[in-house]
C-alpha cells in the first residue's frame, strides 16, 4: 500500500513570490524572514521524499462559477495548467503546468464516492493559486504529479465544517489503502482570520489575532473537538469575511488525525493576515521524534541533512528554469533564495 510521506497544512499567500523575488527598494522589509521561514518549511517536505502530491485548495471563481458550483471536487487529468490572467495581474504569478496522477485521482474518486462523499470531478481543470502557492513555496521545481482536491470555502451555501474534517479523514484512509508503492504527501492550504473586500482588510495584522492564536493551537495539536465546538459556518464570518478558508485547515486536521501533534509548526505575523505552517510525519521517521522536544531533536538531525537539501536546491533550480515556459523569470529570485538559505534556520518548536 502507499505510504503517507508527509501531511502539510499551510496558509497560502499569493504575494510570497513577488515579495521574495523583489530586490533593492522594492523588497519589503519582512521578505527575508518570510523567505527563511518558507525555506525551512520546504525542507519538511523535501526530506519526506514524496513521489506524488495530493493538493487540497479552492478555486477562487476562476473555472468554477455560480452557475454550477461543486462543494468538493477532485481533478482527474494527465495535466493541469495553472494560474490565471487576474493572478498574473495582481500577484505576478507565472503560468505553470503540473502533471496529474490519474490513477490516484481515480482511486480517491471511487473510494470517496463509495464512502458517502458525492464528489464532483473534472477532466480538464485549470488550477489556481490555492494550489500553485504551495507548489511555489514547498516544491518550486514543480516536478511531481498532483491530485487536486477543491473545496468550496467561498460561495454560500458551503458544506459544514465537520464535513471538511470527515472528508480529510476519508482522504487519509483512501491514500493509505491505495495499492501502490508510492510515497504520497497530502498538502492543503487555507486561511486563518482573513478579510477581503471589507472594512477590516489589509490592516497591520490579521483581522482577528485572538482567533488566529486559537486556530494555530487547534491545528498544531489537531484538536478537532475544540475547533468543531467553536467554529460554525455562521461564526466564521466574525474573524473576517474570508475566514471560511479555515475549513481547509480543518480538512487537513482530519487528514492528520484527531489529536495528532504536528511535528513541525511555525507562524509569521504578516501585515493583513497571519501565516502558519504545519507538518506531520505519520510514519514517524522523516519528522524525527514525537513532537515537542523530540521534534526539535529531529530538526537538529535535519540540520545535518541541510547540505543535502542545498544540493536538492541546485537541482531544483534546473527544474525551475526548465519546468515550464512561464518560470524563466523566477530563476533570479531563486538564486537570491539560495543565499537566504544559509541563514534560513528560523524555526520554532511550537507557535
Amino acid at each position: 500500500m502507499a505510504t503517507i510521506a508527509a501531511i502539510i497544512a499551510s496558509t497560502h499567500h499569493p504575494f510570497y513570490l513577488r515579495a521574495t523575488t523583489a530586490t533593492g527598494d522594492d523588497r519589503p522589509p519582512f521578505a527575508d524572514e518570510w523567505q527563511a521561514k518558507i525555506e525551512a518549511f520546504r525542507e519538511t517536505l523535501t526530506r519526506a521524499r514524496p513521489d506524488v502530491l495530493v493538493m487540497v485548495g479552492s478555486d477562487h471563481f476562476h473555472q468554477l462559477w455560480l452557475d454550477n458550483m461543486p462543494q468538493f471536487l477532485i481533478g482527474k487529468a494527465p495535466f493541469y495548467d495553472a494560474n490565471y490572467y487576474n493572478e498574473e495581474r495582481e500577484f505576478g504569478l507565472p503560468r505553470m503546468k503540473l502533471r496529474g496522477h490519474e490513477d490516484l485521482s481515480a482511486h480517491l474518486l471511487r473510494g470517496g464516492i463509495d464512502a458517502g462523499f458525492d464528489l464532483a470531478f473534472s477532466n480538464e481543470l485549470r488550477v489556481d493559486h490555492s494550489i500553485t502557492c504551495p507548489i511555489i513555496t514547498l516544491r518550486p521545481q514543480a516536478d511531481l504529479p498532483i491530485v487536486p482536491v477543491y473545496t468550496n470555502i467561498f460561495a454560500p451555501p458551503m458544506p459544514q465544517p465537520r464535513r471538511f474534517a470527515e472528508l480529510g479523514r476519508a482522504i487519509r484512509a483512501l491514500v493509505e489503502s491505495w495499492p501502490s508503492d508510492q510515497r504520497v504527501a497530502i498538502i492543503g492550504t487555507g486561511h486563518l482570520s482573513l478579510e477581503l473586500g471589507g472594512p477590516r482588510q489589509f490592516g497591520p495584522h490579521g483581522p482577528d489575532p485572538e482567533f488566529d492564536r486559537k486556530a494555530v493551537g487547534w491545528i498544531a495539536s489537531s484538536d478537532l473537538d475544540a475547533a468543531l465546538a467553536e467554529v460554525s459556518l455562521d461564526s466564521l464570518w466574525q474573524p473576517g469575511n474570508a475566514t471560511h478558508g479555515f475549513m481547509d485547515f480543518m480538512l487537513m486536521m482530519g487528514v492528520a488525525g484527531d489529536n495528532a501533534k504536528a511535528d513541525y509548526a511555525d507562524s509569521l505575523d504578516l501585515f493583513h493576515t497571519m501565516e502558519a505552517y504545519f507538518t506531520w510525519y505519520p510514519e514517524g521517521e522523516a519528522g524525527g521524534g514525537e513532537g515537542g522536544a523530540g521534534g526539535a531533536e529531529g530538526w537538529a538531525g535535519g540540520a545535518e541533512g541541510w547540505a543535502g537539501g542545498a544540493e536538492g536546491w541546485a537541482g531544483g533550480a534546473e527544474g525551475w528554469a526548465g519546468g515550464a515556459e512561464g518560470w524563466a523569470g523566477g530563476a533570479e529570485g531563486w538564486a537570491g533564495g539560495a543565499e537566504g538559505w544559509a541563514g534560513g534556520a528560523s524555526r520554532k518548536a511550537a507557535p
Binding site: F61, Y84, N86, F154, P156, G197, G198, P199, W237
Partner: protein, 120 residues
C-alpha cells in the same frame, strides 16, 4: 435583487483584460452593453442557448455604472470579486502600495459584522 447577475458582471469583466479597461474608461456604457448583450449568456453554453430573464435592478445598474463599490458591498456583491476587480481598476492611480485597498476599507468603516449577505 439580482446578486447573482452583479457577481456575473464582476466575474466576466475581471477575467478579460480588454473589458477591465473598457469598464474603467466607460462604466455606464460598458454596463449598458453588457446587460443588453452578455447578461443572459450562459457561460458554458453556445450563444443561442441563452437565458431569457436576467436583468439588473435600478440600484444595481446605478452602482455598477458609478463604480460605487460601497453600494455594491451593501447590495451583497461577493467581496472577493469586488475587491479583485476594483484593485485592477484603480490601484494604478495611487502612489503608495496598498493605498487603494486601505481607502476601500476606510470607505466601508461604518460596517461591522454582520455584513450584507453574499449568499446567492
Amino acid at each position: 435583487m439580482s446578486k447573482y447577475l452583479v457577481n456575473k458582471f464582476l466575474y466576466t469583466i475581471d477575467r478579460d483584460p480588454d473589458l477591465v479597461e473598457r469598464y474603467r474608461q466607460d462604466p455606464a456604457g460598458t454596463v449598458a452593453w453588457w446587460e443588453a448583450e452578455r447578461a443572459n449568456v450562459i457561460l458554458n453554453c453556445p450563444g443561442a442557448e441563452r437565458s431569457t430573464w436576467l436583468s439588473f435592478t435600478d440600484a444595481e445598474r446605478d452602482a455598477l455604472s458609478g463604480h460605487d463599490y460601497v453600494a455594491l458591498f451593501e447590495l451583497g456583491a461577493h467581496n472577493f470579486l469586488l475587491l479583485t476587480l476594483f484593485i485592477a481598476l484603480f490601484e494604478r492611480d495611487y502612489d503608495e502600495p496598498l493605498a487603494f485597498q486601505r481607502e476601500f476599507a476606510a470607505r466601508l468603516s461604518h460596517w461591522s459584522v454582520p455584513y450584507p449577505d453574499i449568499a446567492t
